[in-house]
């Protein structure tokens, strides 16, 4: 049985007036055009507009208009943002406790020769801004890779003109400053549109193998200072004490001197006094003094032997041994 198509009831499409269709289409077209005509440039960016491939203008942050439908194309360049490149290490995770790694690749960046033909392992960073978006975008392809190569070449050039001790210690700031200004010169010469803000050395070390001997030098220096300090300490301990003792000896001598002179003066005046009286009656005084003295002495002595003046020898009579035994 042939199917009767006509008999199927058709759904009633609402009648849309052609005017409305036209309006909606125009509206849609307008929205698309408007959507493509406005663009926003963030505060840290600059907008670069190419019209059919040709650079026509660059725009400041804010809301701007351009021709839609790909006639004018926008490229945003973060001119205000400070950009950073790391050499000799990579930040894995930035934060309060940033994590860093070094790999074989970063070792290649950091190991370099110094002017005294030694080897040093230096890590550094470069902070920079895109100063001129036009140059940055259109003068050099792979501008950032080139910038890295330039930085490496410049740092090695400056380090190559310095001794290893300078690079590790006193010369760090000078080398960084010199490298920064050379890098800026090179950027200007390359018309790469980059402004170098800072070049800062991070860890600068002798190679691992050599490190212990560098540390040994530090230790030796410490030892030297320690020895000198100890010697001075001993000096300072001994000398003031000796000075004090010397002072003591002097004071003692002075004391002796005073005593001696005073004693002499005392003895002298005593003698003079006695003599004055003695001179008045010498004979009797002499006797008196003699007898007084014997009077003092004789009673004290327990062992007295009185021998007749005719007896010449006293010893045969005396039993000395017994006396000593007592």
């Amino acid at each position: 049985m042939p199917y009767d198509f006509q008999s199927i009831p058709r759904p009633e499409w609402p009648k849309i007036p052609p005017k409305v269709v036209k309006g909606v289409l125009l509206g849609l077209a307008a929205v698309v055009l408007l959507w493509g005509s406005f663009y926003q440039v963030a505060p840290e960016e600059m907008g670069v507009i190419l019209r059919l491939g040709k650079f026509v203008r660059s725009t400041e942050p804010g809301l701007h208009m351009k021709l839609p439908l790909g006639i004018e194309r926008l490229t945003r360049v973060p001119v205000q943002r400070q950009l950073k490149q790391e050499f000799g290490f990579r930040t894995v995770r930035a934060g309060v406790n940033s994590e860093y790694i070094t790999t074989a690749e970063t070792k290649g960046e950091s190991v370099m020769l110094t002017g005294d033909l030694n080897v040093v392992d230096a890590e550094w960073i470069v902070q920079y801004k895109i100063r001129d978006p036009y140059l940055f975008l259109f003068k050099m392809r792979e501008a950032e890779a080139t910038f890295r190569d330039m930085t490496e070449a410049v740092v090695r050039r400056v380090v190559g003109d310095s001794a290893v001790d300078e690079v590790i210690t006193v010369g760090r700031t000078r080398i960084a400053d010199e490298a920064k200004s050379l890098l800026q010169q090179l950027c200007d010469a390359y018309e790469i549109g980059i402004e170098v803000n800072q070049l800062i050395f991070q860890d600068v070390n002798p190679p691992e193998t050599v490190k212990p001997s560098f540390n040994d030098v530090n230790e030796a220096l410490q030892e030297k200072e320690k020895k000198i300090n100890e010697s001075w300490a001993e000096y300072n301990q001994v000398i003031p004490r000796a000075a004090g003792e010397a002072e003591q000896v002097l004071r003692g001598a002075e004391g002796y001197a005073t005593e001696r002179v005073n004693n002499a003066a005392g003895d002298a005046s005593r003698f003079s006094a006695i003599y004055r009286e003695y001179a008045k009656a010498p004979a009797v005084t002499r006797k008196r003094l003699y007898l007084e003295a014997l009077n003092d002495i004789l009673p004290k002595i327990t062992r007295k032997i009185v021998v007749d003046q005719n007896q010449r020898n006293v010893l045969p009579l005396l039993n000395l041994g017994e006396e000593v035994k007592k």
Binding site: T114, G115, E152, E223, K224, I228, S231, L250, S272, V307
Partner: protein, 316 residues
């Protein structure tokens, strides 16, 4: 709808599409970063188009070939090269180049890949030739500035390790550049500069350098240690000297003071005792008897002594 109208419509639409195709193929956009050469059946037509914007060509017959207009990067592989003083080093250079004559470039090397392989040959070759003619120090240093001596380094003598340079890194780069740039012009490439990016010792040399560095540091360390010993001995010597000086000076002064006092005392005694030396002797002797004759003393007295004058008789 009649067939005539339909045919007309088809023709019109077809013509429009064809026109669009023709227009699309006749128009090309050159960006700020591009340069274009046009070929007609393979034959180059005119010079390169370098201004950015919309351009026209004969559709279908002419073909466009786009090339980059910007400075391009070439980074060579590290090369192991012996220097004139027979030190083996790895040297890594980079250079900046651009397609200065797109037509010649297109004819000779076709594209960037071709150019890269040519640059590899030329720049590496020139680097090799140049480096091999100079001592290592000429590649490392770029001036003859004197090193700022640190306390450590002052103990070392660099003169044997480091000679003065006559050429230096900058000039060597220039020499490489000049020689290479002459050749690259032949395939439409302008070379702007060649820079030595990295120079490193080959492993074997590096080991020797490390040994030398270690030896240098050992020298410094032992110098410090012996300086410490020396200084310490000096201080201790100074201490001895000072000690002796202080003690002996004190002794001298003390003796002087005592001597003066002794002299003074002697003078005083002499003045007094000179009144009657005999009486002084008498007094002093009695004093000595008092002190010398003790309890245990044996005293043997003869009856003719002064004290026993009255023992045997009342005298007179």
């Amino acid at each position: 709808m009649n067939t005539k109208n339909t045919t007309l419509l088809i023709v019109i639409v077809g013509a429009l599409l064809l026109g669009l195709l023709v227009i699309l193929d006749a128009v090309y956009i050159v960006s700020e970063t591009d340069q274009v050469i046009i070929t007609q059946f393979g034959e180059p037509m005119g010079g390169a188009v370098t201004t950015a914007g919309l351009h026209f060509k004969t559709p279908f017959i002419q073909k466009t070939h786009f090339f980059d207009k910007r400075w391009l990067q070439w980074d060579g592989d590290p090369n192991q090269i012996p220097t004139k003083d027979k030190k083996y080093i790895w040297i890594d250079t980079y250079c900046r180049w651009r397609i200065s004559d797109p037509l010649v470039f297109f004819q000779r090397v076709r594209d960037e890949r071709g150019a890269h392989s040519r640059l590899d040959d030329i720049v590496d070759g020139e680097t090799r030739n140049t480096i091999a003619n100079y001592d290592l120090i000429e590649i490392i240093r770029s001036s003859n500035r004197d090193f700022e001596l640190t306390e450590d380094a002052a103990l070392l003598d660099f003169s044997e390790v480091v000679g003065k340079i006559g050429t230096g890194r900058d000039k060597l780069s220039k020499i490489i550049l000049e020689n290479a740039a002459k050749i690259t012009l032949e395939f439409g490439v302008e070379l702007k500069d060649v820079q030595v990016k990295r120079v490193n010792y080959v492993d074997e040399v590096q080991r020797k350098v490390f040994d030398r560095m270690i030896a240098e540091r050992k020298r410094i360390a032992s110098k410090y240690r012996s300086e410490g010993d020396g200084k310490s001995a000096e201080i201790s010597g100074q201490k001895e000297r000072e000690l002796k000086r202080i003690v002996s000076e004190a002794y001298r002064k003390a003796q002087e003071i005592k001597g003066k006092a002794d002299a003074e005392a002697t003078k005083i005694y002499a003045q007094a005792y000179n009144l009657d030396p005999e009486f002084y002797q008498f007094l002093k002797t009695l004093e000595t008897y008092r002190a010398a004759l003790e309890k245990d003393t044996w005293l043997i007295l003869s009856t003719d002594s002064e004290i026993f004058k009255y023992l045997k008789s009342a005298g007179r």
